[in-house]
């Protein structure tokens, strides 16, 4: 079986990640911040170590990391807690539904307004974009790191810098690209960043979070047990505990510690490997008749969106699956991006590579695609 759906989830993890997960599950197996016996203390220590490595990885000096079950929860936590009546938000036309939907709900409730930067305008300079889209009440600029549909890198540090310089807070959804592009929140003026563990960060599913340069003053999404100040009737005003009510998924969190350690140690070789494979894939795709590559001429992560000669994406995905090749068709929870590249009707076939992908797997993919193109 050839797995080319890393943008959905990294099916294959480094061995260290499986070992960390198993170690936590078998040898620790208790929750942090609850029991004060040695094992409970060790669990809390491991949670702290993971907070620290996440913050360091994203270039955030303080360990202001809130763990959630995925990036969607982190995004909802942040938007619902941070945005207030009358606020205006700017986002790119490549945002995932995890960003679009909570913002649209807030808009429908009459709390916020938003503007979407069009695909054409994405080519404007940072200054031109700011002048065109910012309003007096613009509170937040939102951008994905990379498109989950075409792989195009959407994040531009010059944009977060100009927004910040003009008093607009900045938010990056790093769900796509986090393990493939190094960013520094502090140097690049990113106030808030959501991440998920199970995609490019190569951890187990069930962990994500919000990284904040400064401790946020937003309302928690969930009320419940926090392990601290248990006499209060609502979550205490303690960071980050107030935002992590309920039991954390520590086996997944500890696997994230292992995966980030592995990524940090191997970052250059992973990115070199994936970029070489990406070039190889794009060269080969260019030889397939009737094949379209979307956002072909842009800087990208190792994800490519294609179609062949008007064929519906689900048909091509099915054909590839019959040849034991896993790709993803349809809308990819990214309706804004599909509208931007005009593929809402037929969908797109997404091919996404990962650290364990090989040239031989790409050759097999091309062989099948050629049979369709001809």
């Amino acid at each position: 079986m050839i797995y080319l759906d890393y943008a959905a989830t990294s099916k294959y993890k480094p061995e260290e990640v499986y070992k960390a997960f198993e170690y936590y599950f078998r040898e620790i197996g208790v929750s942090p911040g609850r029991g004060t016996y040695k094992l409970g203390v060790e669990a809390s220590r491991m949670l702290y170590k993971t907070r620290k490595i996440v913050a360091n990885y994203f270039g955030c000096e303080k360990h202001n990391v809130i763990f959630t079950k995925n990036s969607t929860e982190a995004i909802n936590l942040f938007f619902n807690g941070y945005l207030e009546k009358g606020d205006h938000v700017i986002m790119s036309c490549y945002e995932h539904n995890a960003v679009l939907r909570p913002l649209t709900k807030l808009k429908e409730k009459g709390i916020i307004e938003y503007s979407i930067i069009t695909r054409e305008d994405m080519n404007l300079s940072a200054e031109e974009l700011y002048i065109k889209y910012a309003k007096k009440n613009t509170k937040l600029f939102v951008t994905t790191l990379a498109s989950n549909l075409t792989g195009r890198v959407i994040y531009r540090p010059e944009l977060t810098k100009i927004m910040k310089a003009n008093g607009v807070s900045t938010f990056v959804d790093s769900s796509q690209g986090a393990g493939k592009i190094r960013i520094s929140m502090q140097d690049e003026c990113i106030d808030y960043l959501a991440f998920t563990g199970h995609k490019d960060l190569l951890a187990m599913p069930g962990v994500g979070g919000l990284v904040c340069v400064e401790v946020p003053t937003v309302q928690p999404l969930l009320q419940g047990g926090t392990g601290v100040l248990g006499d209060k009737y609502t979550n205490p005003d303690v960071f980050p505990d107030a935002y992590e009510a309920g039991t954390l998924n520590m086996p997944a969190i500890w696997s994230l510690h292992a995966s980030l350690s592995w990524i940090i140690d191997n970052f250059d070789s992973i990115t070199r490997h994936e970029q070489e494979l990406l070039s190889y894939l794009l060269d080969k795709l260019a030889t397939v008749r009737k094949l379209i590559v979307y956002d072909k001429d842009y800087n990208r992560v190792s994800t490519v969106g294609i179609n062949i000669g008007g064929m519906k994406s689900n048909e091509l995905v099915q054909l590839l699956d019959e040849n034991d090749i896993c790709t993803r068709g349809g809308i990819h929870c990214a309706i804004l991006a599909h509208e931007a590249i005009n593929t809402s009707d037929i969908g797109v076939v997404r091919i996404s590579l990962g650290w364990s992908t090989t040239r031989e797997e790409i050759d097999k993919l091309i062989e099948v695609l050629r049979s369709v193109g001809e």
Binding site: L47, Y48, R51, G227, L229, G230, D241
Partner: protein
Amino acid sequence: MYIVFYSTSHVFEAEERLNENGIDCKVVPTPVTDKAYCGVCIETSAHNAECYVKDIEHCVI
């Protein structure tokens, strides 16, 4: 003495700082229960320990 913190995360940040500076310390259950602070705190006999955690909200008991 005990150095207690509001956030569990701060307990381990403090432990790390003290270890890095050669201060002997232990993470132990907080004597005042979780009504006042988080469930664990730092126990140390080093009188200068507090100077390493001055920028973290804490209390010495």
